[in-house]
């Protein structure tokens, strides 16, 4: 059932996921950041659905549903709830400004083309693009974690990196064994829950969830 339409759709959804990551680098507020994660997850679910349809793989349908339920419905709700309860300021603290972040993202995308060069030679065209996109999303999300100084933005960075990972895994081998995927979803969900618990605690002992805290404990 692979047709030009589905392969184009796959490409479009994957590119939209990357766009969401790049836009996340350009946001300076937290609510839009969470919304971007939500949008990225919608595109991911759509991507998975299209792959499942074109490859006729039933277990990717399940993944698409799980992505939609967990990453689109549950996790953003939880993040909003945490944000509301701990009353943080909506503003992000950027250690690299927006123009710098944009340049950084562009550089990282080029870097991913460069590093995936030897891999790409062995793959079909459609997989090639998605793989490079997945690398880019992971790199951009991790650099977002490193340059944004709020707890919630770090969580969103981690979640976006996870999205990039799933994109790559599905592009390469139609997903991993089901147990791994289940484990990964479980891991993400638990991580968000635990992060929520700690965010409440931080809120109790600090005035705000301010991630200068991740840089405070150093050798004197």
């Amino acid at each position: 059932m692979e047709s030009i339409l589905t392969s184009n759709l796959i490409d479009i959804f994957a590119v939209c996921m990357l766009l969401a990551s790049v836009l996340a680098m350009a946001t300076t507020r937290m609510h839009p950041l969470i919304r971007l994660f939500l949008i990225q997850s919608i595109f991911q679910a759509a991507f998975e659905f299209t792959v499942a349809y074109s490859q006729d793989e039933p277990h990717i349908y399940i993944m698409a549903v799980m992505t939609f339920v967990i990453k689109v419905l549950v996790i953003p709700k939880m993040l909003y709830y945490i944000m509301d309860r701990i009353k943080v300021t909506d503003k992000l603290v950027l250690s690299v400004g927006v123009p710098g972040s944009m340049l950084l993202s562009a550089a990282l995308i080029m870097l991913s083309y460069f590093v995936s060069e030897p891999l790409v030679a062995t793959l079909a065209t459609a997989e090639r693009n998605t793989l490079v996109l997945s690398f880019s999303i992971m790199l951009i999300s991790i650099s977002m974690m490193a340059t944004r100084r709020k707890a919630v933005s770090e969580v969103v960075g981690l979640l976006m990196a996870e999205n990039g990972l799933f994109l790559g895994a599905i592009a390469l081998s139609n997903g991993m064994p089901f147990i791994v995927e289940l484990g990964a979803f479980f891991d993400v969900l638990m991580a968000v829950i635990i992060v929520g618990i700690f965010a409440f605690r931080i809120n109790k002992s600090f005035d705000s969830v301010d991630d200068t805290l991740l840089r405070r404990m150093r050798e004197e």
Partner: protein, 485 residues
């Protein structure tokens, strides 16, 4: 069957600890339970150590797994034993409520079960899941004291390790891509079939898998430059947990790296080795610098763990049979000596109420037992003879020289000498001198038993090498170099 029992035991005991039966009974449950589960684990590990590999649908326990399982089971039993009196003091001084004690034991025992799971499973995917679970559970142990430092440490721990675990998962995805065409069906991520079919795996994918897997699990193993979480997490956790995290949890990630290393070295000879050499050397460099400037005893010990993990990965990086023997010996040596020193430091920090080494003086005069065992522990951790770390480091240096890496050997000798000086310079002044504080040794049998057991274990491993143990280690070297024993 027996393997399932071994892993379920600690979890069941953990749940039993949640029952509202009074603090004293809870301690009894925890200690007896962990004694029984260690007995089960040891019973389960003896056949594999004799060469009878357990190989079922989910479980795969060969000598390598059994070696790590044994270490985990024994050290965690000693940690539970030690924690009894340690936590009693914390309770008496109102740093923890009895509800928190209950959840502490519940988490601790679940944590132990998760670590056992990591070593006993057959599939790379399940090993990954095990490592993921250990991170999630132990975050609560790090953040046990709900003050700001502990919460910060736990936060940093879970964030950085989650990134590491995500990267490792990508490594597994790559591994799966490389193997799914070669090995059909469910076996495509199982360690034994991966080793058997390693020669047919796609080398390009395996290179990418190696990079992601080693960086990802290296984060969890505390290799520099991904080690930032480690000193905070290990210093903020209560001392028994610090000992467990240093002595055993780091092994979990190292075990994953070792299993992967076996396959990767068949497909791309030298690639994983180079990576491990670089990370190992970086770790030792970073550790050397920070050991010299640390003022907090537990942070200093945590950096010493970074150093030890660095040594193990350098040994893997050299990769000759002698070096692999050294790597395994170093694992054993580190797993015994680091908990020993953390338990001793637990005694001191509780008695003096501080972790700053400059404020702890005159330990030998006030606390005879702790003073003596700290002397042994300090020598063991710093790597002095007759303790096993010394032997391990010596094997590593010989291996480096034998394979012609003279520069590496020279650099290692200098760095190890600096580390030795740094550790002893900070620890020994605490033992002598005088203090105005009112401190005294706790009369506690459990503390003494657990510390004494570790001292005796360290001395035994350092001085004797029975032929049976040597054979097991040699068989593991064969496994690590890609053969079947």
């Amino acid at each position: 069957m027996i393997v399932t029992l071994m892993i379920l035991m600690p979890a069941v005991v953990g749940i039993l600890c949640l029952l509202p039966v009074g603090t004293k009974n809870m301690f009894r449950t925890a200690v007896t339970g962990s004694l029984i589960s260690t007995a089960v684990a040891v019973y389960c590990c003896i056949p594999p150590l004799r060469g009878e590999t357990i190989d079922t649908v989910i479980w795969y326990v060969d000598e390598l797994s059994a070696f790590f399982l044994m270490i985990t089971a024994v050290i965690s039993m000693l940690a539970v034993l030690y924690s009894k009196d340690y936590l009693l003091v914390e309770r008496e001084e109102h740093r923890l409520s009895s509800k928190e004690l209950r959840s502490f034991y519940f988490t601790l025992l679940l944590f132990i079960a998760a670590m056992l799971l990591t070593f006993a499973v057959k599939s790379a995917a399940l090993t990954w899941i095990g490592i993921g679970i250990t991170t999630l559970i132990s975050a609560f142990l790090v953040g046990l004291y709900k003050d700001e430092h502990a919460t910060e440490a736990a936060w940093k721990y879970i964030m950085l390790c989650s990134v590491g675990i995500t990267l490792a998962l990508f490594g597994i995805a790559m591994l799966y891509t490389a193997s799914s065409g070669v090995i059909p069906g469910d076996a495509s991520l199982e360690w034994p079939s991966l080793v058997a079919n390693a020669a047919n795996l796609n080398p390009v994918f395996m290179k990418f898998a190696a990079v992601f897997f080693i960086i990802g699990l290296g984060t969890k193993a505390g290799l520099a430059p991904m080690h930032y979480w480690l000193p905070d997490a290990h210093s903020q956790a209560p001392s028994p947990v610090s000992g467990l995290m240093s002595g055993v949890l780091l092994n979990c990630a190292m075990y994953g790296i070792m299993r992967f290393y076996i396959i990767s070295e068949v497909v791309n000879p030298g690639f994983a080795k180079t990576l491990l050499l670089v990370f190992g050397l970086l770790s030792i460099l970073v550790a050397t610098a920070f050991i010299l400037v640390s003022k907090d005893i537990k942070r200093m010990l945590a950096y010493s763990s970074v150093e030890n993990m660095g040594l193990i990965s350098i040994a893997l990086g050299i990769g000759t049979p002698l070096a692999l023997f050294g790597a395994l010996f170093l694992v054993l040596a580190h797993s015994i000596s680091k908990p020993l020193m953390f338990f001793c430091s637990g005694n001191m920090t509780q008695a003096y109420g501080t972790r700053a080494m400059s404020e702890i003086r005159g330990v030998t005069g006030k606390m005879r037992f702790t003073g003596l065992s700290t002397t042994a522990g300090a020598l063991a951790v710093a790597g002095a003879p007759p303790f096993p770390l010394f032997t391990g480091e010596l094997i590593l240096l010989f291996a480096a020289i034998n394979s012609g890496m003279y520069v590496l050997a020279g650099v290692l000798i200098i760095l190890l000498a600096i580390i030795f000086a740094g550790l002893t310079r900070s620890i020994f002044p605490m033992l002598s001198g005088n203090t105005n504080k009112k401190v005294s040794e706790r009369r506690s049998v459990t503390r003494k038993i657990s510390i004494l057991a570790l001292v005796i274990g360290a001395l035994f491993v350092g001085l004797f090498m029975p032929a049976s143990v040597e054979n097991v280690l040699l068989d593991m070297v064969t496994i690590l170099s890609g053969g079947l024993p």
